[in-house]
Symmetry: C2
DNA sequence: TCCTTATGGACATATAATATCCTTAAAGGA
DNA sequence: TCCTTTAAGGATATTATATGTCCATAAGGA
């Protein structure tokens, strides 16, 4: 069980897009170069973000992507669920119904206890992700990443947006 | 991203093994029939549990599996990590190092913030799973599953253990 | 008109999940 | 001792998913 590598890409892209000058767009090519990932495949991830309403896109020269709303309004869960899908990681195939001792009449009012526990644990995970926004991420990045690298990246992005 | 179906199988098997008469073993064939899953593949899951020290096995007639310790000492996380491996679901491929603006000298004292957040969320998930034991599961099952089905299953298992 | 870009579909490849088969060795019973 | 039962584990097959590439199309800007 492993998350797609696109999740890492998408979160890093959002953090870059959050620093974009107002109204500007950054294109897929630049985002791909910046992170050293294949442009065509990254494009799929960005399309997923667009479909989820997290980013806006525009065509033509000076086109590309930007965040669809304030970075403080986009959570990690928004991004992760856009890439991975919102469904649960644990899927119950109702094996309890296969018990040969089970009378046909048995009705399953509630979901299986095993499934409920697994889903509760996932909820805790989701809740943590919902508690973290791209804005908070950027704050942390500013705090931890060397100033010269931040500055150089900002310039590099500025030239291309 | 999805957990293996063996996770569901393994947890249900543990709940059955927890109800086994003292010192008895239940074989793979019975566990497979009880849950309606392929015996050979379920066997791999049980082997994983054995390797993790959660169950004991014995050969020959009247052989099979039983829990290696009290059901109260086996958590959901024990089972999940035995099947899925203990590694994180989010894997960081250090794409931050691919930034073309980055000086060679840059050192990464701490893990990337994105990764740290993702791993923190996973910790919350793990913690929930660690808080639930097979014993608690059995308690819940006894409470929720119809008495006649519980009884019939106990008899069925008793005949085969 | 021409260039740039996102979109989306088709396609190819790699990896992981799911499943089956078969051989081996150990345990127990006759 | 011989035979049956069973777990262990390796080999293999099948399917699904992840990863990655390619191309045709439409739209925006110069
Ligand atoms: S039947 Fe699916 S988790 Fe119990
Ligand atoms: S470099 Fe891997 S999560 Fe940031």
């Amino acid at each position: 069980m492993q998350l797609k590598n696109q999740v890492e890409w998408a979160l890093h892209c959002c953090s870059i897009l959050a620093g974009l000058p107002d109204g500007r767009y950054l294109d897929t090519k630049s985002l791909a170069q910046l992170h050293g990932v294949p442009k065509e495949y990254l494009s799929k991830a960005l399309q997923a973000l667009a479909k989820a309403g997290l980013v806006l896109s525009t065509l033509g020269p000076s086109g590309g992507y930007r965040l669809a709303r304030a970075a403080s309004g986009i959570t990690f869960w928004d991004v992760v669920s856009a890439i991975e899908g919102p469904g649960p990681a644990f899927v119950c195939t109702e094996i309890r119904r296969n018990n040969p001792c089970r009378p046909k009449s048995t009705c399953d009012a509630k979901a299986c206890i095993v499934a409920r526990v697994m889903w509760e644990a996932e909820d805790a995970w989701r809740e943590k992700l919902r508690g973290m926004t791209i804005a908070k991420l950027v704050d942390q990045v500013v705090e931890e990443v060397p100033a010269d690298l931040m500055e150089a990246t900002a310039v590099w992005v500025g030239e291309r947006s």
